[in-house]
C-alpha cells in the first residue's frame, strides 16, 4: 500500500480534515444549508474556543500580574518608604523587565520566550559547529592515538532537550513493549498463570511514577557502582518503561485470552499445532487490542517521563522545566509555559502516530 503524502493525508493525520475541508468549501462557493451547519460546528465554534482560551488566559494573567504588583509595591512601601514604592510603581508601569513581578505569564510573554529559546538554540548549535570544526583535526589525532575525542560540553539548547526526551521516551516505550507483550501473551494463554499473577498486576499497576523511579534507582545504583557512565539516562528510561507497561500487559493478556471462540474452534478442527495456533490465530486476532495497549503505554510514558527526568536529573524537557523553575529569572515562567505547549504537542503527535498504526493493524475496518 503505497500512499504519497498529500496535504489531505497530513490534515487527516492531525485531525484537522473536517475543519480545513469546510473552509475550502466556503472559498470554492459550494454551499448549501447543511454546509452552514457544518461551518458553524467545524469552523466557527473551534475558532471561538481558541479565542476564548487565549482571552481567558490573557485576562487572568493580567489580573494575577496586578495582584502581584500591588503586593510588591505595598511591601516596598512598608519596608523602604513611599519614595522607593513610587519608583517601583513607575518601573513596573514602564514595562522594564528587571522589576516585573513573577506571576502567570501572558500569551505574548510566552510567545516571546519561545522565540528566545529558538534564538538560543541557533546560537548554541552555531557554537557547537564551530567547536566541532576547531577540534576536528585534534580529535582525529586523538582517535588515531587511541585517546577519547574531546566532546562539546556546553549547555544543551531547548531543541536538544526535546530530542533527548523523545529518545528517552522511545527507549522506555521499547522496554515496555519487550517486557509487556511477551509476558502478556504467556499469561493470556494460561488461565492458571493469569489468576496466579493477577495480584501482582493489580498492585503494581497503580503505583506512582515517583515510586517507580525510586525503586529503579535502588536497583540500578548497585549495578552502576563501578561504571563511570552516567546512570541517570538508564534509570530514567527503565522507570518510564516499568511505569507505562501495565496498559500493554493487561490489554495483551486480555486480547490473547478472549480470542473469538469460532476461531479457536476452527484451529481445533484443523488440528493446528500450538505454535501455529498462537502465531496464525491468537496473535493476529489480538493485535488490535495489543496496539490499543501500546497506544496507552506511549501516552503514559510521555506523561511520566517529564516527572521522572526531573527527579533523575536526566537531561530532557523535565529537567529543563525544573531548572527554569529553580532559576527564577524574569522569563523563566514564560519558558515553562512554552515548554508545556511543546510537551502537549509532542504527546499529541505521538498519540496520532500510534492511532495510525493501530488503524493499520485493525482488521475490522468499521472500527
Amino acid at each position: 500500500m503505497k500512499q504519497s503524502i498529500t496535504l489531505g493525508s497530513v490534515t487527516r493525520f492531525i485531525g484537522l480534515a473536517g475543519f480545513l475541508e469546510t473552509i475550502k468549501n466556503v472559498f470554492t462557493g459550494k454551499l448549501d444549508k447543511e454546509d452552514f451547519k457544518n461551518i458553524f460546528r467545524k469552523v466557527i465554534m473551534p475558532l471561538a474556543s481558541v479565542l476564548l482560551f487565549f482571552a481567558v488566559w490573557y485576562l487572568s494573567a493580567n489580573k494575577l500580574h496586578e495582584i502581584e504588583a500591588d503586593h510588591l509595591i505595598n511591601k516596598a512601601l512598608v519596608e523602604q518608604g513611599p519614595a522607593e514604592a513610587e519608583k517601583l510603581r513607575a518601573c513596573i508601569a514602564s514595562g522594564d523587565k528587571s522589576c516585573q513581578p513573577n506571576a502567570l505569564p501572558s500569551p505574548v510573554q510566552v510567545w516571546g520566550a519561545y522565540q528566545t529559546l529558538l534564538a538560543d538554540h541557533y546560537v548554541i548549535s552555531a557554537d557547537k559547529k564551530a567547536f566541532k570544526k576547531k577540534t576536528a583535526s585534534l580529535n582525529a589525532k586523538r582517535i588515531a592515538n587511541g585517546e577519547k575525542p574531546i566532546t562539546y560540553t556546553g549547555r544543551p539548547s531547548f531543541v536538544d532537550q526535546i530530542f533527548t526526551s523523545i529518545i528517552t521516551v522511545f527507549a522506555g516505550f521499547l522496554l515496555a513493549l519487550f517486557i509487556a507483550v511477551p509476558i502478556g501473551i504467556v499469561i493470556g494463554l494460561s488461565h492458571t498463570l493469569r489468576s496466579s499473577v493477577n495480584w501482582l498486576i493489580q498492585i503494581f499497576k497503580p503505583v506512582s511514577p515517583v515510586v517507580w523511579f525510586l525503586l529503579v534507582f535502588m536497583i540500578v545504583k548497585t549495578f552502576t557502582k563501578n561504571s563511570s557512565s552516567d546512570s541517570a539516562f538508564i534509570i530514567c528510561f527503565i522507570s518510564v518503561g516499568l511505569c507505562s507497561m501495565w496498559a500493554t500487559l493487561v490489554n495483551t493478556a486480555m486480547g490473547v485470552s478472549s480470542v473469538d471462540k469460532d476461531y479457536i474452534n476452527v484451529a481445533k478442527v484443523l488440528k493446528l499445532g500450538p505454535m501455529q495456533k498462537v502465531f496464525k490465530v491468537i496473535l493476529p486476532s489480538s493485535l488490535p487490542l495489543i496496539f490499543t495497549g501500546l497506544r496507552i503505554t506511549l501516552s503514559v510514558a510521555w506523561m511520566v517521563l517529564i516527572a521522572i527526568e526531573l527527579l533523575a536529573q536526566s537531561p530532557g524537557l523535565g529537567l529543563f522545566v525544573w531548572e527554569e523553575f529553580q532559576n527564577g529569572a524574569n522569563d523563566s515562567n514564560s519558558k515553562i509555559i512554552a515548554a508545556m505547549f511543546v510537551i502537549g504537542l509532542i504527546g499529541f503527535m505521538l498519540d496520532r502516530i500510534m492511532l495510525t498504526i493501530q488503524k493499520m493493524v485493525s482488521f475490522n475496518k468499521n472500527d
Binding site: V269, K271, K365
Partner: protein, 278 residues
C-alpha cells in the same frame, strides 16, 4: 413408516427405516449417545440414548425444534463438545478429539478476518497436506474457491466479502481438506433467502462431485428435503433422541425445479411439518 432401529450384528447387515444396509457401509455411528450438562439444580440431560448410523456418501439433514440439542450433537461429532456417555465412531474408530477427518462448516463463516480468502482455505490445506509442495497446495485451495464461484476474490480480505461470499469460503475451506465427514451447522441460517438458494446449489454441486458423507442441521424444511437422502427428525429436549427418519427418494443429481414438481414433494413436506407441529 417404520421408525424403530433394528440392528443385526450377526449377519453384517442391518435394517433401518425399511432399508437393508451392509455394516461395512457405515461411515458415522452414534451409539447410545448421551450429553449431560451439570447445573446447580442437578444434571440437565440434553441427549439420551441417541442412536444413528450414517452411510458412506450419504447426505443427512437433521431437523428439530430450537434448543433440542441438534447443535450439541453436531459439535460432539466434531469433537468440540465432550461426550457424556455412549460412543461416536468414524469408520469404526471411536473419536474423542476434533480432527480434520471431520470438516465443519459453522453457522457464522468463522473466517480469520486478517487473512485473504485464499489464506483462509490454505490454513486447512497446509495442515492436511504437509507433504505437498507449496504450489500444489495453492492449486488445491484455488480449485475449491473456483468451485464456489470466488475465482475473482482469492486475494480479498475476509472482511471485504459479503456474508454469503464468506460462507462460500467456509464451504471451500471445508471441502479442500477432503474430510471423511462433513458437518454443517445451519450454514445458511444467517443468509437471505435468495443467497441461501444460491449457496444450496453450490453446496450440492460440489457435493455431487465429492460425495463426502454430510450431516447438516437446518431449520428450513425445504432445504432439508432438497439436499438430503434422509431427513432425521429429533424430538424436543430435554432427553432428546431421534424421533423419526424420512427417506427422500428423489434421484440425484437434483434440480430445484424437478424436486418442487415431484409428486412426492408435498407428501414429504407434510410429513416433516406434521412432526414439527406435534
Amino acid at each position: 413408516m417404520n421408525t424403530t432401529l433394528l440392528e443385526n450384528n450377526q449377519s453384517n447387515t442391518y435394517l433401518e427405516n425399511g432399508i437393508l444396509y451392509p455394516s461395512s457401509n457405515v461411515m458415522l455411528d452414534l451409539a447410545h449417545l448421551k450429553k449431560v450438562y451439570p447445573t446447580p439444580k442437578g444434571d440437565y440431560i440434553v441427549l439420551q440414548d441417541l442412536n444413528l448410523k450414517i452411510m458412506k456418501e450419504e447426505f443427512v439433514t437433521i431437523i428439530g425444534h430450537s434448543g433440542c440439542g441438534k447443535t450439541t450433537m453436531l459439535s460432539m461429532i466434531a469433537g468440540l463438545n465432550e461426550i457424556s456417555g455412549g460412543t461416536i465412531s468414524v469408520l469404526g474408530k471411536h473419536i474423542k478429539d476434533p480432527g480434520p477427518d471431520r470438516g465443519v462448516i459453522f453457522q457464522s463463516p468463522s473466517l480469520m478476518p486478517w487473512m485473504t480468502a485464499l489464506e483462509n482455505v490454505l490454513l486447512g490445506v497446509n495442515q492436511v497436506f504437509p507433504q505437498a509442495t507449496k504450489s500444489q497446495r495453492n492449486d488445491i485451495a484455488k480449485y475449491y474457491l473456483q468451485k464456489v464461484g470466488l475465482e475473482d476474490a482469492f486475494n480479498k480480505k475476509a472482511t471485504e466479502l459479503s456474508q454469503g461470499m464468506q460462507q462460500r469460503v467456509g464451504i471451500a475451506r471445508a471441502f479442500a481438506i477432503k474430510p471423511k465427514v462433513l458437518l454443517l451447522d445451519e450454514p445458511f441460517g444467517m443468509l437471505d433467502s435468495l443467497t441461501r438458494g444460491e449457496l444450496q446449489d453450490i453446496l450440492i454441486e460440489i457435493w455431487n462431485k465429492e460425495k463426502i458423507t454430510a450431516v447438516m442441521i437446518t431449520h428450513d424444511v425445504d432445504e432439508a428435503i432438497f439436499l438430503a437422502d434422509r431427513v432425521v427428525m429429533m424430538t424436543s429436549g430435554p432427553k432428546a433422541k431421534i424421533g423419526d427418519i424420512l427417506n427422500i427418494e428423489f434421484e440425484r443429481p437434483r434440480t430445484r425445479k424437478s424436486v418442487l414438481e415431484h409428486d412426492d414433494y408435498y407428501k414429504y413436506r407434510k410429513h416433516l411439518i406434521d412432526f414439527l407441529e406435534h
